[in-house]
């Protein structure tokens, strides 16, 4: 009898030890996974990448996208770094994505982590360019606009806004990024001549806000409006037989001299 109870006790202790070990090991494992795989706020992924959470699930960490990129844009994250282990990413200030029309990285991906639904590289949304207005040369009034010139979608992703200045005759040309067209390729970030890039690519989740559904923008025509409101009517064009302007063409206020 006594022997039996000892062996039962033994068994229970063994079972408890086993369970404790399994539980500790399991928790440690889950902790490690959460540390590694939490959606990383700064990582920029190759074109067509699924949202960060799905991407973490789908990517098998094979690096075939890395091998297929002709510009060496993509890297696989090493272990122990800041970025989730073994996943492809790029740093635009080092090498941006040059938006290959045939998207070789996406085609090389065997798992669908880079989604084949991306048909046109210009539809990719790797991130969003953000301008530091305080350090952008153009916003300081210098004629830089390099980002605008280099942008493969110039005129759509970056536009220039002309602002006359009160104290100088030289207008300012403000580069403005339009989120509906910017691919996040980072060519602008690479090209920016400031010591630290004044235009940078960040994941959308880091920069984009969201207005509540309840806001009604009364002045946009598509919006339902509550008062009688007459859309603005353009004034009738001047009659075509009007007299020619007095000033010669090319004479504008810049050439009139004197402040």
């Amino acid at each position: 009898m006594a022997e039996q109870s000892v062996s039962r006790r033994d068994f229970l202790v063994k079972a408890a030890q086993g369970t404790a070990m399994a539980a500790t090991g399991g928790l440690l494992w889950v902790y490690l996974l959460r540390q590694e795989a939490r959606a990383h706020p700064f990582a920029l992924r190759p074109p067509g990448a699924l949202t960060e959470k799905d991407f973490n699930a789908a990517c098998i960490k094979c690096g075939q996208c890395v091998v297929s990129c002709p510009y060496d844009t993509l890297k696989l994250a090493g272990s122990g770094g800041d970025l989730p282990i073994g996943m492809p990413y790029f740093e635009p200030r080092k090498i941006p994505c040059y938006l290959c029309p045939d998207i070789p990285c996406m085609k090389a991906c065997p798992t669908g982590a880079l989604s084949p639904e991306l048909k046109n590289i210009n539809d990719s949304r790797m991130g969003l360019a953000v301008i530091d207005l305080e350090n952008c040369l153009s916003w300081k009034g210098l004629r830089c606009e390099i980002c605008h010139r280099e942008c493969p979608l110039k005129g759509k992703a970056i536009t220039l806004e002309m602002h006359p200045r009160q104290l100088s005759k030289h207008a300012m040309f403000y580069p403005i990024v339009n989120s509906d067209a910017c691919t996040g390729c980072g060519i602008c970030e690479k090209a920016c001549p400031t010591t630290e890039a004044a235009i940078r690519i960040l994941p959308h989740s880091m920069v984009q806000g969201k207005i509540g559904e309840h806001y009604r923008l009364g002045w946009t025509f598509e919006t339902e409006i509550t008062q009688d409101f007459k859309p603005y009517e353009a004034p009738a064009p001047a009659p075509s037989d009007a007299p020619p302007p007095k000033k010669a063409p090319g004479m504008d206020y810049l050439n009139e001299g004197g402040l």
Binding site: A22, G25, G26, W29, V30, L32, L33, R34, E36, A37, K53, D54, N56, A57, A58, I60, K61, C62, G63, Q64, V66, V67, S68, K75, L76, A77, G78, S79, G80, G81, P84, I85, G86, A108, C109, P110, T111, G112, P116
Partner: protein, 308 residues
């Protein structure tokens, strides 16, 4: 070493051991044939990946020769390959896998199903080079065991990897795998993966013999399960075996060489055997040799006949 399935040491067994220790230099070198071959294959596979990633090896023109790594790859732009254990985990996260990786999985699964699952371990896995070195050094330095663990732990870890993949939504082993760290970082550049390997090396060397590969690695466990059905097996010829036990001394999974059990089946049937060839190259009586599973019965019958 006199408990080999109930056999006690016999005089001819001592003679076998004696024979082994007195072999000529030539015979000694010849007995390294599998280890040399294994290293060539292991390093060769890595080299093909490295060449493709770093020196843009191409074949046919403009197509990467062997792109990717051991998790998933593509050979000459035509044949996809993928690690079935990794894809199984990804499948469990709920991601719908694309056709290419499924075909690749089937190819690799079929390949090792034919060759014997843990052929991956002994012939391809780069971690094996580290753990082999630790095991060899441990024997040389005669470091005694300080802990014992059942070798079945790995199957629990395997099960945990699958459950955790489903629970956490990421491929649980792939995110912590030292195997992945090693080949990825050799092929794609250095991180801190070598620290994990150093840990495995020290653990194997000082704490538990064959600790990682023989007790923990869930990938090895996965291939052990697949390997049960393998076609290439180590045939056991009981007619000339003297039960000297030298095979079990060199085997990293000595439990598979339980002579009484393998005598019944005429081969090393356990999936935990990695077909590393250590025992076949070493056996002083030539009782162990690679063979194809369907032929083993016939060959053993013939051996018995000629012995009679």
């Amino acid at each position: 070493m006199n408990d080999l399935g109930g056999y006690s040491v016999r005089a001819d067994a001592l003679a076998s051991t004696e024979k082994l220790h007195k072999r000529s230099i030539g015979a000694r070198v010849w007995s390294w044939r599998y280890i040399v071959l294994r290293r060539i294959v292991q390093v060769g596979v890595l080299l093909l990946f490295i060449g493709t990633a770093h020196w843009a090896w191409q074949y046919p023109a403009k197509t990467p020769f062997l792109s990717g790594n051991l998790s998933a790859s593509k050979f000459i732009g035509l044949i996809p390959m993928a690690d079935p254990f990794a894809t199984l985990q990804i499948f469990l996260t709920g991601h719908v896998l694309q056709q290419e990786v499924l075909i690749g999985t089937a190819i690799i699964f079929g390949f090792y199903l034919l060759l014997g699952g843990r052929v991956f371990c002994a012939w391809v896995c780069p971690v094996n080079m580290v753990t082999d070195l630790a095991g060899w050094l441990r024997t040389k330095l005669d470091i005694r065991a300080i802990v014992h663990l059942p070798r079945s732990v790995r199957y629990f870890i395997l099960a945990a990897a699958l459950v955790l993949s489903a629970v956490t939504g990421v491929a649980a082993f792939e995110w912590v795998s030292p195997v992945g760290m090693m080949h990825r970082e050799i092929i794609f550049g250095i991180g801190f993966g070598f620290l994990a390997l150093l840990a495995i090396f020290l653990f194997d060397l000082l704490i538990l013999k064959n600790g990682w590969c023989g007790h923990f690695c869930p990938l090895g466990a996965f291939w052990s399960l697949v390997g049960k059905a393998g076609l290439v097996k180590v045939r056991f010829d009981k007619t000339n075996c003297t039960h000297c036990g030298e095979c079990a001394k060199v085997c990293p999974e000595p439990q598979v060489l339980n002579l009484k059990k393998i005598e019944e089946r005429g081969m090393v049937f356990s999936g935990e055997c990695s077909n590393c060839g250590r025992c076949t190259a070493l056996c002083p009586e030539g009782s162990l040799a690679f063979d194809l599973r369907p032929l083993i019965r016939k060959h053993n019958a013939r051996a018995e006949q000629s012995a009679v």
